[in-house]
């Protein structure tokens, strides 16, 4: 068992400085209790990757991370035979029969483990983070299906390897493309949105311990106001935290128009967004 209840999940996550809400805590608990992968989707910088790290930290499990990118293939994600080592082995045993060599070069010793296989074979509890799933090609999703529904991997030369312990799987996605229905169906879905000002204030307080409560409150409210504008890219939690750090570094204790104007580049990263914010917020 990973967590005993949603309340337990929430408590243990906040012990590692990840502040959850009802839906996060329940989804995190259910993913463990039902043994299903958790698909966290949402805009950049709302703490999707951080969630997986926090689960690993809260449960004391090892974090195995698979970063997805265009062109990711089986050899990078699952396993690969150590071809060079196999060649050496063949040359070393020159007077052996073919059968002996053949049996020998397809064994554990020549297998290169990649994140997915590592997570399946691990004997200790593992949190498997499949990051930015939407960046990978569609074929990778097909590869994930077998692993995510049965927690097993088939290697032709070795047979099917089934997980000793089910890993806790977290997939993240920025929704740059729709993931396939088949993949979504196998996962629990958690949509992470920008937090309420109250939660964001608490997050800032937890992440930036030196900040005063009043400034954190002001920050959270101002960022909420900015998100209500029609921006190309609304500021994320990560950017709010950066902003808090910037203000502390500059020694500001108050978030007034001048302070915002001077540091706007930390939260808004499009010229048109900055112009709009300056106009709308009368900076």
């Amino acid at each position: 068992m990973w967590f005993a209840s949603p309340a337990d999940a929430s408590e243990r996550l906040s012990a590692v400085d990840y502040l959850s809400d009802d839906s996060i805590a329940t989804s995190v608990f259910l993913a463990g209790a039902l043994g299903k992968p958790l698909l966290a989707e949402g805009p950049a910088g709302v703490g999707k990757t951080q969630l997986a790290k926090a689960v690993a930290a809260a449960t004391g499990a090892k974090l195995v991370r698979l970063q997805c990118y265009e062109g990711l293939d089986e050899a990078r994600a699952l396993y690969e035979w150590n071809y060079k080592k196999q060649l050496l082995r063949i040359q070393a045993g020159q007077d052996e029969s073919w059968d002996a060599t053949h049996d020998d070069i397809f064994t554990e010793e020549f297998l290169l483990e990649r994140p997915l296989l590592a997570a399946i074979r691990s004997r200790t509890p593992v949190v498997l983070l499949i990051d930015e799933t939407d960046k990978a090609d569609v074929e990778v999703e097909g590869l994930l299906l077998e692993i995510l529904s049965d927690y097993q991997v088939t290697i032709p030369e070795l047979g099917t390897i089934t997980a000793v312990r089910k890993p806790y799987v977290v997939l993240t996605s920025n929704a740059t493309r729709e993931l396939s229905e088949a993949l979504k169906r196998r996962c629990l879905y958690l949509h992470l949105e920008y937090p309420t000002p109250e939660r964001e204030r608490d997050i800032v307080l937890a992440q930036v311990p030196t900040i005063t409560a009043a400034l954190a409150e002001q920050l959270a409210r101002t960022v909420a106001t900015m998100r209500a504008l029609e921006l190309k890219k609304a500021p994320s939690i990560a950017e709010t935290i950066d902003w808090a750090n910037t203000l502390i570094a500059l020694g500001r204790t108050e978030l007034d128009e001048a302070a915002i104007g001077a540091t706007l580049g930390v939260v808004l990263k499009h010229a048109s967004d900055q112009t709009r914010a300056r106009k709308e917020l009368a900076l």
Binding site: S5, P6, D22, S23, A25, T26, S27, F29, L30, A33, L34, K36, L38, L39, E41, D134, D137, V138, A175, T176, R177, E178, E181, K184, R185, C187, L188, Y189, L190, H191, E193, P197, R221, T222, A224, T225, A228, E230, K232, D256, E257, I260, H270, A271, S272, T275, R276, E280, L281, A282, L283
Partner: protein
């Protein structure tokens, strides 16, 4: 109703409201019910959401239905109200004071909304029957009129018009919206209690954003849609790139094939093809910007502009009864909302103010005829309702002939074409006309086009 019946009924209602809930997902949800504490309503909601709702745009509909099928308990929950006015007998000013406190962030919004619906929301429909309405609650309390007072209270002498006011306004506005939601939620719950869940469930769930009808869109929805333009464009672009990569291979790559054949003694065992050159059309958008189809035209324009990289060149023209080029409002990095207001104010698209497709087409051919060339795709957006004016079909035929492709997107349902002053079929005979009523249809069309 047993828990199982309720679960099955809820899943069924979700499907009826258009959420694709598969059998396997329903089972997952049932399994989740076994492990969570059913008395915790919010974790029940989260458990259902995690197992059944896999698209953010389906979430509002889900929440509405959840509140109907699993209403919050209203008995036995009487939080300590000692310091507060008695909600059943208090005078209106007292109640407004209490509401003002809530809008500033005090606790107890839901209880208050419930009590107010009880007091103001009831209207006798016929003897022995009653109806519940949220607008009568809103009229009695009128939270919007509290804004000025609350602002004065929050700002406490700070100067007006500055950042502080903006922040306060946003916060109070957000809380007002929450209050309205709480009231309409309670009204729906009461109607469901009086006349059954199924009846109200059908009428209270709005279709998800991407299936909203362009012609019936509200201002708030349009703002929400505009926010979706960039994510949608990004998704479409990603899909188009994948499509191009997977698409049919191009011509034989002679050089690579011959070189590869050297290793097999000159016999070309494997052939190589060149990757196909991506097809990037030049796009000319001609759109009706009259009020009747404005929402549709605006959204489509924004989307084509967000997708600029998929086209070699995009030029846009707007018309009501005469035509003007509006490309200049969409320079890269321009502000979306502002482009729209400037477009309406500055562009010269109106002569008499009544839509006239014939005249607009003729003016277009005359003034901007050279915009259409053999590489151009011509995209016309409009409902083909021309106020019984001559349609100028010949001009349109000529334009179509000069362009490589031409398409017409009509935001009206096919069943309404040719009714009244619509000349959809006549135009449709010249330019292939597609029904395009919501974002889903639009996305499908663009995918085909690029």
């Amino acid at each position: 109703m047993s828990l199982l019946d309720r679960h099955v009924g809820f899943v069924h209602a979700l499907r009826e409201a258009g959420l694709p809930v598969s059998l396997a997902e329903g089972l997952d949800a049932a399994r989740a019910l076994e492990v969570i504490d059913l008395t915790e309503r919010e974790s029940l909601r989260a458990a259902y959401a995690a197992t059944l709702v896999k698209r953010p745009s389906h979430r509002p509909g889900f929440d509405t239905l959840f509140d109907l099928w699993f209403p919050a308990s209203t008995t036995g929950l009487r939080p300590s109200h000692e310091a507060e006015p008695d909600l059943e007998t208090a005078e209106l000013p007292e109640l407004r004071d209490r509401l003002a406190g809530l809008l500033l962030g005090a606790e107890g919004m839901n209880e208050f909304a419930r009590a107010m619906v009880e007091r103001f929301g009831r209207q006798a429909a016929s003897p022995g029957r009653q109806n519940w309405f949220s607008y009568s609650v809103m009229r009695a309390l009128s939270p919007e009129t509290l804004m000025a007072r609350l602002l004065a209270e929050v700002l406490a002498g700070q100067e007006r018009g500055g950042l502080a006011e903006k922040v306060a306004r946003q916060r109070i506005g957000e809380n007002t919206r929450r209050f309205e939601e709480a009231v309409s939620r309670d009204v729906r719950r009461r109607i469901a209690e009086d006349s059954g869940i199924e009846r109200i469930a059908r009428s209270s769930v709005r279709p998800p954003l991407e299936q909203l009808d362009f012609l019936r869109i509200t201002k708030a929805d349009l703002a929400r849609l505009r926010r979706e333009v960039h994510p949608l464009a990004r998704r479409l672009a990603a899909r188009l790139t994948v499509k191009h990569r997977l698409g049919h291979r191009g011509r034989l790559d002679f050089r690579r094939t011959v070189r590869a054949s050297l290793s097999s003694g000159g016999v070309p065992l494997t052939t190589f093809n060149r990757p196909r050159r991506p097809h990037k059309p030049e796009l000319v958008v001609l759109c009706d910007t009259s009020d009747s189809v404005a929402a549709f035209a605006h959204f489509t324009l924004l989307l084509t502009y967000a997708l600029r990289e998929q086209f070699t060149k995009v030029r846009a023209f707007g018309f009501v009864d005469t035509v003007d080029e509006i490309t200049r409002f969409f320079v890269p990095g321009a502000d979306v909302a502002e482009a729209m207001t400037r477009l309406v104010k500055e562009a010269d698209m109106v002569r008499f103010g009544r839509t006239n497709y014939g005249h607009a087409l003729e003016r277009f051919a005359e003034r901007y005829g050279d915009a259409i060339g053999p590489k151009t795709s011509l995209l016309i957006l409009g409902d083909a309702r021309s106020n019984y004016q001559p349609p100028a079909l010949e001009t349109l035929k000529r334009l179509t002939r000069d362009a490589r492709h031409a398409y017409w997107l009509n935001p009206e349902p096919t069943s309404q074409w040719d009714t009244g002053d619509s000349v959809a079929t006549a135009y449709g005979g010249v330019v292939p006309m597609y029904e395009c009523r919501n974002v889903t249809q639009l996305a499908a069309f663009i995918e085909e086009l690029a």
